[in-house]
Amino acid sequence: MSLLEIRNLSVSFGGPPVVDGLDLSLEAGEVLAVVGESGSGKSVSMLALMGLIDPPGRVSADALRFAGQDLLALTPRARRRIVGKDIAMVFQDPSSALNPSYTVGFQIEEVLRQHLGLRGKAARRRATELLERVEIPAAARRLDAYPHQLSGGMAQRVAIAMAIAGEPRLLIADEPTTALDVTIQAQIMALLLDLQREQDMALLLISHDLAVVAESARRVCVMYAGQAVELGTLPALFEAPAHPYSEALLAAIPQPGQTRLHSLPGMVPGRFDRPAGCLLAPRCPYAQPRCAERPALAPSRLGMVRCFFPLNQEAP
């Protein structure tokens, strides 16, 4: 049984869906990356999984199962016992993700009290251990610091400590390094992968940084305009992408000596001007008449792809 099973997840805020029929599954202890540009629905689908989409946003799915439990069938209260404990999330910008009015210790101990029933000295001791675990120097002293007294990298470590406080089986990291300096980025990624291995925790990494993805994930899901367009394993997917969009994404990585970056013509369609057929068709260099129909996600040579004419299908 998969740890996480998402089938046909759709999220809409009135009008066309922002996430459109997403299928995704994740095994315990696995690292999966979801890549795609801004507005492709990666973050929104994960917020839907966390139960953080508010009306007028609407979430529907054929299945949204975590460890065999149907999350959509749970009462809000029962769902909150899972969220923050078994499924935790780290967000993009650590400086705004921490509450400026409370100390680091308060914000970590809050999770320990809520989910593990730890209070007082026991909670404080555990919070110190957590800060030590995320490699914050002088951990005990840092408990009394306020978020504005921390650097971005430190704040992200605190956010990670907060997320692993409930000993989650699934950690969702939403662009965890995007707001940080390059040198710090590598440290934070290393820390996340270290924690993942050590605690046998599944890691779902949302990113648009393919270099980060290549170094960390075993499987990858490429999203475009609210849909998963390709699912595959690494490094195979990067070496032989089946979907034209995956190919374009990889071509956009700057190469030494290159003077112009490759890019697709046009822009990602907004949710009100999506084409009737394949969502990429208007921008796709390989588009054919059949692309006016909407393709389904279908098995390809190495994974799954949403394209009538997948690339790289002949065995090398």
Binding site: I82, G84, M89, F91, A97, L98, E110, H115, Y146
Partner: protein, 336 residues
């Protein structure tokens, strides 16, 4: 922190100086003089008038009078009332608890109801509750206090007979003033029903005086809350699996209260000026009513120094709010 305190204190001197100049000039711009008011204009004997003016030092040129007034202030002497001969300070301290009691009741009402209403309106944004509340608060804010007070008196006191029309307590009760706060003194007096009677006297004036601060605080809380609820740390708090109540009150309201607190401090000034009208309408024996009567009687020392004391109070409250601000907002505390 010390430098901040000193800087703030340094700003106080010119403020006080300005207040003395203003009140001194304004009260003298009103036609008539204290002697005229006391003796009556009609059969005023010029000889007696001149003597009385001389006795009060009002025959001197204005700049002399002003310097004499400043000199008196420097010695810490607030002077005597022309009317009663009592020292201004003694009268102020006798009457002030009544105003303080009324103001506290009004602020309590405005703070508790305003914050609560603002939070609910923000959570239920664009609902009928939100619309009605915002409409009411605009009305409350724009309503003249004296009209609102009279309307409530007519409706609640005269029409429905639920509350007394005026005063602090029924004449039947003989309450020993221990603290000056009628609610406390009536409890101490152990007279049956005195406390409830004092409470019934307090409720209408408190509502009237609290209306404007209530409206302002509700609006401010709503907008601050709306802003805070969009913050990333609210999403983080929810992602921790905390209950909605904890997210809203512990993580949201705490941050939303920072701007509300500033407004709360500023309302104290509004409150004291509102007290002048409210106390007059409800015959509430506080400093507002005292000042109005003193202006009518051209009781220069009372008007000048009474207003100076109120100004000092407003400045003190805002100063305290500034300090509290640092307490509530760790970013400010550390920046100093």
């Amino acid at each position: 922190m010390l430098a901040f305190l000193l800087r703030r204190l340094g700003l106080l001197l010119p403020t006080f100086f300005g207040v003395t100049l203003l009140t001194f000039a304004l009260i003298r711009l009103i036609p008539g003089d204290p002697v005229e008011v006391m003796m009556g204009e009609r059969h005023l004997d010029p000889q007696a008038h001149a003597e009385a003016m001389q006795r009060l030092g009002l025959d001197q040129p204005l700049h002399r009078q002003y310097l004499a007034y400043l000199g008196q202030l420097m010695r810490g002497d607030l002077g005597q009332s022309f009317r009663s001969g009592e020292s201004v300070w003694a009268e102020f301290t006798t009457l002030f608890p009544a105003t303080l009691e009324l103001a506290c009741a009004a602020l309590l009402l405005a703070g508790v109801l305003g914050v609560l209403a603002g939070v609910i309106a923000a959570l239920k944004r664009d609902s009928w509750f939100d619309r009605v509340l915002m409409g009411l608060s605009l009305t409350g804010y724009s309503m003249p206090i004296f009209w609102w007070g009279l309307m409530l008196q007519i409706l609640v006191s005269v029409g429905l007979g639920w509350t007394p029309v005026s005063g602090r307590i029924d004449l039947l009760y003989d309450i020993e003033p221990h603290t000056g706060f009628m609610l406390v003194d009536s409890l101490l007096s152990e007279e049956d029903g005195a406390f409830l009677d004092a409470l019934r006297h307090l409720i209408l004036p408190a509502i009237v005086l609290g209306t404007i601060p209530l409206a302002v605080i509700a609006r401010m809380t709503r907008s601050a809350m709306l802003e805070v609820l969009r913050e990333d740390y609210i999403r983080t708090a929810r992602a921790k699996g905390l209950s909605p109540a904890r997210v809203v009150f512990v993580h949201g309201l705490r941050n939303a209260l920072i701007p509300v607190l500033t407004v709360f401090g500023l309302q104290v000034g509004t409150l004291l000026s509102g007290a002048v009208l409210t106390e007059t309408i409800f015959s509430w024996p506080g400093i507002g009513k005292w000042l109005i009567e003193s202006i009518a009687a051209r009781d220069y020392p009372v008007v000048q120094n009474g207003i100076l004391l109120i100004a000092a109070l407003v400045i003190l409250v805002n100063f305290t709010v500034d300090l509290l601000y640092g307490l509530v907002n760790p970013r400010i505390r550390h920046a100093r």
